[in-house]
């Protein structure tokens, strides 16, 4: 049986505090092919971030397994690099040092010092941030921080790139700019990407498939939508594209008609 690149098999997650058990995820199964861009969309509190953390290995599933290339995922590691929502750069290091911390750790044995330097500079260039390499995170804008976060993740040369609402905290203009950049990088490197988002346009624009989650507690995968749009995709041309409009409508319908967000009682 040929296994997919990344498989999530029957994952359940519940948090127990004292006698209270809180079911967050129920029976999540998903297989992702190499080079695929998957978005996970759902209302807030539906456990999408928990799912991502399980794939990252930062959280353990209560039941079920995650396989990456046939190997069980049970701890975090650089082959599943995460871009955190709040960038998580280390404020005492410069942008360059933030990336090189990852590079030195991952490639400390396999690459020479000069090679590692070139590698860091290449990743900074990829996100157009080589001009700010000696600045500290506090001295650059939110969008720039997130770009350094992406550079750091890419620098680990991950098998799967995990994006946890990477553009959620950014203003709309910066967000579009970064989305375009991510598409470009994706076209260049053909990464396997799992992205959490709550932005419908972002999901349709970037992904090959959109995983829509039902509301928590006990959230499950409600529907998976194939976005059959050719790449490279151009934001402006898509606005009037029929496939795009249909996909967008399907996601909106799922989120706002069938699984309307109800404030937890």
């Amino acid at each position: 049986m040929s296994k997919a690149f990344l498989t999530i098999e029957h994952v359940d997650k519940s948090f127990t505090r004292g006698a209270m058990t809180n079911e967050v995820l129920t029976d999540i199964s998903l297989s992702v092919n190499q080079g695929e861009f998957i978005s996970i969309i759902g209302h807030s509190g539906c456990g999408k971030s928990t799912l991502l953390n399980i794939v990252a290995g930062l959280t353990q599933a209560t039941k079920g397994v995650v396989f990456l290339e046939g190997k069980v995922v049970d701890e975090p590691g650089p082959e599943r690099a995460v871009v955190f929502q709040n960038h998580s750069l280390l404020p005492w290091l410069t942008c360059y040092e933030n990336v090189s911390l990852a590079v030195d750790k991952v490639f400390g044995r396999t690459k020479s010092k000069a090679e590692r330097h070139d590698w860091v500079m290449h990743k900074l260039k990829l996100v157009n941030m080589e001009h700010a390499k000696d600045r500290r995170p506090s001295e650059i804008s939110g969008g720039m921080k997130q770009r350094i976060g992406i550079a750091r993740a890419l620098a680990m040369q991950p098998k799967v790139l995990l994006l946890d609402e990477p553009f959620g905290a950014l203003d709309a203009l910066t967000r579009t700019h970064l989305q375009d950049q991510v598409m470009q990088i994706q076209a260049e490197l053909n990464n396997t990407v799992l992205m959490i988002t709550h932005d419908v346009d972002e999901a349709v624009l970037l992904s090959d498939r959109i995983v829509m989650m039902t509301n928590g507690p006990s959230a499950r995968i409600g529907e998976i939508l194939d976005v059959d749009l050719p790449r490279p995709r151009k934001r402006l041309e898509l606005v009037s594209d029929r496939t795009y409009i249909a996909a967008r409508a399907a996601v909106l319908k799922f989120l706002y008609e069938r699984h309307k967000f109800v404030e937890a009682a």
Binding site: P78, S88, W92, K105
Partner: protein, 304 residues
């Protein structure tokens, strides 16, 4: 045809075109060709400098005048500042004389005290950061040690002195121990708080990178907790300097504390006042030094 002509050719002209208005340029009176003595930038810099320096100078002057007025009567029990200066001029002018025994200049007295503080404080910093890291990182260590720390830290520094004299049978190590035991608590507690407050994000980064415990300690834990650690170190240096004066009064020998006590025993009140001023100045300088190191080490994330 020029463009304007083209535009106007098929329009009935209402008025004969007026001649282009001419203007005579009247030059404004040239500014007085006097160059300012200071460039404007130097002037603002000087004004800023003055704004920070003048208020403390003023308050000091007012306090000195008040003191002079209050203590100038012949029946006054404390000397006025003018009398302090004239009484202690020998000490001010020769800070580094050495007549053997305890009869040394104030420079030497302060040096002896600073040496004790340096040793006790350095030990407290090293042990304190280590213990603080342990308590901050391990819940079990915290449960076991925190109650002990909370009780021990309320013991006044001097209360340790008899016990340490009994243990060490010598004044010198006892004084150093008192400094150590005084300075260590704020270092431990602040380090532990700093480490407990390391954001989950940094821990996640460390986990994704698979940093080993040693790498985690010096690449994430120390820098993330550094602002807290330096807060503890700053409180610690202040407390050490407070404690050394008291401890030296009791152990005797060379040192600014015993100098004050000795002056009191021989009724040299002016010497006491001069020594107190020196103690205050040194304490201030010590605090600034630790604060500046903090800024340099934490690259500006700690407050000066």
């Amino acid at each position: 045809m020029t463009p304007t002509a083209a535009a106007t050719s098929n329009v009935t002209q209402l008025k004969p075109q007026a001649a282009a208005p001419t203007a005579t340029v009247v030059p404004l009176p040239a500014p007085a060709a006097k160059k300012p003595f200071f460039s404007p930038r130097a002037k603002t810099r000087m004004m800023e400098w003055g704004a920070t320096v003048i208020p403390p100078l003023l308050t000091t002057a007012v306090l000195l005048i008040l003191w002079e007025v209050l203590c100038s009567s012949p029946t006054s029990s404390l000397p006025a500042p003018s009398k302090v200066v004239s009484d202690t001029w020998e000490l001010i002018a020769n800070p580094f004389y050495d007549n053997g025994g305890n009869d040394k200049g104030l420079g030497w007295q302060l040096y002896a005290s600073l040496k004790r503080v340096a040793l006790g404080y350095a030990l407290a910093a090293i042990v304190g950061i280590g213990l603080g890291a342990l308590v901050g990182a391990s819940t079990w260590a915290m449960r076991g040690l925190d109650p002990v720390f909370q009780v021990l830290r309320t013991i006044p520094p001097l209360a340790w002195l008899p016990l340490s004299l009994a243990a060490f049978r010598d004044g010198e190590p006892s004084a150093i121990f008192v400094i150590f035991i005084t300075a260590i608590w704020p270092v431990i507690i602040n380090t532990a708080v700093g480490i407990r407050n390391i954001p989950q994000d940094y821990k996640n980064v460390a986990q994704v990178l698979r940093l080993n415990p040693i790498e985690y300690f010096h690449k994430i834990m120390l820098p993330a907790a550094a602002p807290y650690i330096f807060t503890g170190l700053r409180i610690g240096i202040g407390l050490s300097w407070l404690a050394i004066v008291a401890a030296e009064m009791l152990i005797g020998g060379v040192g600014i504390g015993f100098f004050i006590w000795d002056a009191w025993n021989s009724s040299r009140i002016s010497d006491i006042i001069l020594a107190l001023i020196y103690v205050g100045a040194v304490g201030f300088v010590l605090d600034r030094i630790v604060a500046l190191i903090a800024v340099a080490v934490t690259r500006g994330t700690a407050n000066a």
